[in-house]
């Protein structure tokens, strides 16, 4: 039994392609059932996010299984496979395991360390479990991926720092103010960055928003959007002292806030700290403002600096994470290969036992003057013989574990002893993992 993955991601396909093959999140039953119904495919799971579409499956036939999954992906979305093929990657065995572990640990994400992907995979697995398209192998595989992702999260600092400018601003504000829930944000001017940052602050519990703009109507419109209040631009300095966090991005060509202004404002606030974020280029706020006591000023370059040093930190942490994944792959791969040999071992043992019992019964039935303890002795003798004979092949199968020859041994044993295929049972597999 093997695990295969076929998919595409932000690394291999543009958004135009990705959106064509995306699966609608609340309509997963049909694709999952179709996938699991394919010949050669035993189990199936579909991960579909805005950055990736991936199909995981377990199959006996690696090449055939992969081809069928690719065909399914193209056919389901009515795209020619020739168009899709160049964007697809596919892995099997150890590479497929590594792939999921890396994706779940957010090492393959566009922003390495971003936390959403794990939740998205959990949702995808939820669908597969709900529609019963995941079985013993994918269940184990996904749970392992979740625990690997958790290990990476707790043992490395991969997700501990902000890597977008607006998140960096929120993190800085938390280091200055601690709790943001009773803080007020003031937006000066408008702009995408400014609004995005304001949204992040609101998501982090900021209490009030004030908006000012040279065009009062625009300020009003934006204030309505954020459920805040608009302030006339001329009255800026009458209201500035009420703001703890100031986001500025006007189109002004000169500084609109100087150090003297801020000194007056901070005095009025009785030295309560203020955090100025200047996202305008050219800048709106005189850099000397940063020298005022209890005032912190960060401009776009400063924030970019924070982000790039965080990214560097993440890259270092990612190396540690790869090490963790290496360890975990070994363990899971062991389990998977034992999974393959276990039914054979079980079948071989029951075959021997069957023959022994049958022959023993025949002998005992035709033996007239069998001594009282004779049957016991015969039992002991015959089981000793079968156990001795079974010991080397059992050991060999278990030890061979991963590696190409295992299929050969399994096949040979099945033909030599005319074994039937027994489906592995979940309960007797748990003790196999080392």
């Amino acid at each position: 039994m093997n695990i295969v993955v076929v998919g595409l991601s932000h690394k291999t396909a543009s958004v135009e392609i990705r959106e064509k093959v995306a699966f609608a999140p609340n309509r997963m039953e049909k694709p999952l059932k179709e996938l699991a119904g394919l010949p050669d495919i035993n189990e199936g799971l579909i991960v579909s996010t805005c950055n990736r579409v991936e199909i995981y499956a377990s199959t006996h036939d690696i090449a055939g299984g992969m081809a069928r999954v690719k065909r399914f992906l193209a056919d389901f979305h009515n795209i020619s496979l020739d168009v899709l093929e160049p964007h697809l990657y596919s892995h099997h065995g150890e590479a497929a395991i590594r792939h999921l572990f890396r994706v779940a640990s957010s090492l393959d994400s566009m922003v390495v360390g971003e936390p959403q992907i794990l939740g998205q995979i959990k949702t995808a697995y939820g669908y597969a479990a709900e529609y019963k398209t995941s079985g013993i192998i994918l269940n184990r595989f996904l749970h392992k991926a979740f625990s690997v992702a958790k290990r990476v999260r707790t043992e490395t600092k991969i997700a501990s720092s902000a890597v977008s400018v607006s998140f960096a601003a929120v993190e800085l504000a938390k280091k200055i103010f601690g709790d943001l829930t009773d803080k007020t944000v003031m937006l000066i001017g408008a702009g995408e960055m400014c609004e995005l940052a304001a949204k992040h602050f609101l998501n982090n519990g900021v209490r009030g928003v004030m908006v000012t703009n040279r065009t009062y109507e625009r300020a009003e419109r934006l204030a309505e959007e954020f459920d805040g209040r608009a302030v006339r631009f001329e009255d800026l300095f009458d209201h500035l002292h009420k703001a703890d966090i100031i986001l500025s991005s006007t189109g002004a060509t000169h500084f609109i806030i100087g150090a003297k202004d801020v000194e007056a404002v901070i005095h009025r606030r009785r030295q309560k700290p203020m955090f100025f974020i200047d996202i305008a280029v050219p800048r709106d706020i005189d850099p000397k403002v940063n020298d005022v006591e209890n005032v912190y000023l960060y401009d776009m370059d400063d924030l970019q600096g924070v982000v790039s040093s965080n990214l560097q930190l993440r890259a270092e942490e990612a190396k540690k994470a790869e090490g963790i994944i290496d360890q975990e792959i070994g363990r899971f791969f062991n389990w998977l290969s034992l999974l393959e040999v276990t039914p054979t071992i079980v079948a071989l043992r029951s075959r021997f036992e069957e023959v022994r019992q049958a022959e023993l019964a025949k002998t005992v039935a035709g033996w007239k003057d069998l001594p009282p303890d004779g049957q016991k002795r015969l039992e002991a003798l015959t089981s000793a013989i079968t156990n001795k004979l079974l010991h080397p092949p059992t050991n060999l199968l278990k030890r061979t574990g991963q590696g190409g020859r295992i299929d050969l041994y399994v096949d040979a044993l099945r033909q030599l002893f005319e074994l039937e295929t027994v489906a592995p049972q979940e309960e007797n597999l748990d003790d196999l993992e080392e």
Binding site: K157, S160, S161, L172, K174, K175, I176, F177, G178, D179, R269, R270, Q271, K272, P273, N290, E293, N294, Y296, Y298, D302, G305, V306, S309
Partner: protein, 280 residues
């Protein structure tokens, strides 16, 4: 027996200090957590030592430098544990426990023989006056630790150098609040200690205030913290200014405690002279 308690406390404080300092450099939460429990265990043993010492000596064990330094250390650890519990800031330990350890180490360098008390000191006021004084010193010591942390964190934020230590230090507001809380506990304690001291002086020496160097410096310490508290409540002296004043206050306080002994003029409070030649 009691020596064993003393040295095991010293050993525990030493190890805890070491772990707290490593915690400053290595981002392992387990380090902070283990140091936290270790220092709590050390505190209990230290308490046991102090109680046994009280029983053995028959008087409050704050009469010579050995006892005072040990009691100071005990109070610092006690106040620190209370604040760490309240604010969940493990890293405060990296700045406060070294102080507690050094105080106890200094205590260990002085003779642990139980001194004979001169009649002037044999009073219930010894317990009230001295323990309150050291409790206030201890809160100022924690405020000092928080102030140092504040200045470091403020420096990082102003200079935009956001390294691993920046990540680990708590927010400015929390540090400022710890500083303030310490002050609101420590200042009343110091006030009561000075008042009880004056009452005791009246009963023992017949005068409330004799401008003895210790008394003078206590008053200076008191004025510094009074100014800080007043500035805070009226004109908003917070943040950096409060942190710096808190550090100055602590240094003056340390001088009040130890430095006065070094002054050439005799002080009635000087620990050596306190006991007098014939009592040693």
């Amino acid at each position: 027996m009691n020596a064993l308690l003393f040295y095991s406390t010293l050993g525990i404080y030493c190890i805890a200090t070491f772990i707290y300092l490593v915690y400053l450099l290595k981002p392992r939460e387990i380090l902070g957590r283990s140091a936290h429990w270790l220092i709590a265990a050390g505190f209990l043993i230290h308490c046991a030592f102090t109680v046994i010492r009280y029983i053995e000596a028959g008087h409050t064990p704050i009469t010579n430098l050995h006892e005072s330094l040990s009691f100071f250390s005990l109070a610092v650890v006690g106040v620190f544990i209370a604040f760490e519990r309240k604010y969940h800031v493990f890293i405060l330990g990296s700045f406060v426990t070294p102080l507690a350890f050094l105080l106890l180490l200094a205590s260990s360098l002085h003779s642990s023989a139980i001194p004979l008390l001169p009649p002037a000191l044999k009073s219930k006021w010894l317990l009230v006056h001295s323990s309150l004084a050291f409790l206030s010193y201890a809160t100022f010591a924690v405020a000092f630790g928080a102030a140092i942390m504040y200045l470091i964190q403020e420096h990082f934020l102003k200079k935009k150098r956001l390294g691993p230590l920046y990540q680990k230090l708590p927010s400015l507001v929390i540090l400022d609040e710890i500083n303030y809380r310490c002050l609101t506990f420590g200042f009343p304690l110091l006030t009561i200690a000075i008042i009880t001291g004056a009452i005791w002086a009246e009963t023992a020496w017949g005068t409330y205030w004799s401008w003895d160097p210790k008394e003078t410096w206590s008053l200076i310490t008191w004025f510094i913290y009074a100014a800080l508290l007043h500035g805070r409540l009226t004109t908003g002296w917070r943040g950096k200014r409060a942190a710096m004043l808190s550090i100055i206050g602590f240094c003056v306080m340390l001088f009040t405690f130890l430095g006065v002994n070094l002054l050439p003029s005799a002080s009635l409070h000087s620990y050596d002279r306190l006991l007098g030649e014939k009592y040693r």
